[in-house]
């Protein structure tokens, strides 16, 4: 087990209002979320001495403008003017989960006391994957000429392989979309809060990139969320009940840029990250009371459930049936609605929900008697990270 098990905790969390259009600059969303997280902890902004984010805009063909389409650490430093800042970082290789892990490491190293991590996501005007241009350079030279336009198709190809090799039916995914939407009705911060979705809506919706229909894809939004991380000792003196970090992992499998569609790469990415997390935390999938698994595209949940070890390969679409992922089911899943419910803000919201469920702060969607709360943040293939939060250090 990990020497630093349960020595770091998530304390406060905060959100901005997720909107479909970018009327408010992204920097204001990020500021709102960070201020809310600090207030939730009962801290003053001047107490914050560490900053971390993953600022990528995953859209294609749109400029990265700091404060408008991304919010860098530099941008946040300019807004907050923290008098006691001692540490900051921007991660690149494993999405926002990497920023949370780096902040954890910085706290363990003693180079800061209260770190804030935020994820701010922009929804650009026009087509999200805007692919103009007469040429395809870099990794896209092998994909662009064949009309592989964006991550949706890149994820869809592996999903057809999964479906056909396992003799499965995409219609079973309706259960995931509908159940997560039900969870969304308990999350007032979510974009689809109180917007109903039925099985018929799912089955009748337009196809985007087969096997993905509209409701297999998270909707792009403008919004931000944030957390305060600190040591377990300090967290106990703050306002909210802490969620203790029992272990984490990151994908160790690699993928060559431009190579798409490999189902085995998803599985190797997920299993390598989960293995580290189970070993460090001392838990197994059977110990988990509630799980958040990244769902930017629905198939990520399949790869996650299987590669993390919650069910066998080829069985995930059967595993999610018969009420198993409901709030009172055997494995309540994406209890905040997932990205399919909140809108596209990447994996920090999954981490936040994992922490809220562990600390008993999830309100009307709280799962009963949560001791072990699992998070798979980001698709397992190239950006995957995994976390386990517990309600008491044990």
């Amino acid at each position: 087990m990990w020497d630093n098990r349960c020595k770091i905790a998530i304390s406060g969390v905060g959100f901005s209002k997720a909107t479909r259009t970018a009327e408010t600059p992204l920097a204001a969303h990020a500021l709102e979320a960070v201020q809310a997280a600090v207030a939730d902890s009962g801290l003053n902004m001047s107490d914050i001495d560490g900053l971390a984010t993953y600022p990528e805009l995953p859209a294609t063909g749109h400029a990265e403008i700091d404060g408008i389409s991304i919010v860098s650490v530099n941008c946040m430093m300019a807004m907050l003017k923290l008098p006691h800042l001692t540490w900051h970082i921007q991660t690149g290789s494993v999405n926002i989960g990497g920023a949370v892990q780096q902040a954890t490491n910085a706290l363990l190293a003693g180079v800061c006391k209260y770190a804030v991590v935020w994820r701010a996501m922009h929804n650009p005007k026009g087509t999200y994957q805007n692919l103009p241009g007469s040429h395809a350079a870099g990794p896209t030279q092998f994909t662009g000429p064949y009309g592989f336009g964006g991550p949706g198709q890149g994820m869809a190809v592996a999903y057809t392989r999964w479906l056909e090799r396992n003799n499965q039916n995409r219609e079973k995914m309706a259960t995931l979309a509908v159940t997560q939407r039900k969870h969304t009705h308990h999350n007032p911060h979510a974009y689809f809060y109180n917007v109903p979705l039925t099985k018929e809506d799912y089955l009748n919706s337009r196809m985007v990139a087969h096997p993905f229909c509209l409701y297999d894809c998270d909707i792009p939004v403008q919004g931000a969320c944030a957390i305060v991380l600190t040591t377990a000792e300090r967290a106990r003196d703050l306002k909210p009940k802490p969620a203790y970090l029992a272990g984490y992992g990151q994908r160790l499998a690699f993928e060559v840029a431009g190579r798409i569609g490999s189902l085995s790469s998803y599985m190797e990415g997920g299993s390598s990250s989960a293995k580290l997390t189970w070993e460090r935390s001392g838990f197994t999938p059977k110990d988990v009371d509630v799980a958040q698994i990244y769902d930017g595209f629905s198939a990520s949940v399949i790869y996650g459930l299987e590669s993390y070890g919650f069910c066998k390969e080829g069985e995930a679409l059967d595993f999610i049936q018969e009420g198993r992922i409901e709030l009172d089911g055997e494995l309540p899943l994406n209890t905040f609605g997932g990205s399919l419910g909140t809108g596209r803000i990447h994996g920090l919201w999954h981490i936040i929900e994992g922490a809220l469920q562990a600390s008993g702060r999830a309100g009307s969607r709280q799962v009963k008697d949560v001791k072990v709360s699992f998070v798979g943040a980001s698709a397992p293939i190239v950006q995957g990270t995994t976390f386990i939060f517990v309600n008491e250090p044990y």
Binding site: H135, F142, G147
Partner: protein, 141 residues
């Protein structure tokens, strides 16, 4: 059958790793990067052998026969260059004798509904312009 006649495919921009692939395709020969140390084929080309870390890599012709490893049928028209062809099949082909080398392509000469995982395909060559020819695939019937 998807109507490709109005599609404007982007032209590949080769770099030092990928130029032999495109030079070979122009001669209507499918060549993949092969490790001269462990004989592993790989695609896309890379700086080192992803199997054994050797830097002794050369391009060698392959048969161009393989199976559909995975595919998607595109309905979304966000990419205006391809909007006129929807629905169309974009496929990933695993070549025989080159496991792990995954080649993107379109399924030509058949309806997009014929795309299925495991079906046998063979390479065909589609001229983009005087300088570039695309490896593409059709079903082996």
């Amino acid at each position: 059958m998807s109507d490709w006649s109005q599609v404007t495919r982007p032209i590949p921009v080769p770099n030092e790793w990928t130029k032999p692939f495109w030079d070979s395709a122009k001669q209507k020969i499918l060549s993949l990067q092969r490790c001269q140390s462990c004989k592993h084929f790989q695609h896309p080309p890379y700086a080192t052998c992803v199997n054994c870390m050797s830097i002794d890599l050369k391009f060698e012709p392959v048969t161009g026969q393989g199976t559909i490893y995975a595919y998607t049928i595109m309905y979304h028209t966000g990419d205006k260059r391809f909007a006129s062809a929807v629905p169309y099949a974009s496929i990933i082909v695993e070549l025989e004798n080159a496991p792990g080398a995954l080649l993107p392509g379109n399924l030509l000469e058949s309806s997009y509904t014929e795309a299925k995982v495991g079906r046998r395909v063979e390479v065909v060559f589609q001229e983009l312009n005087d300088d570039f020819t695309l490896p593409q695939f059709r079903l082996v019937l």
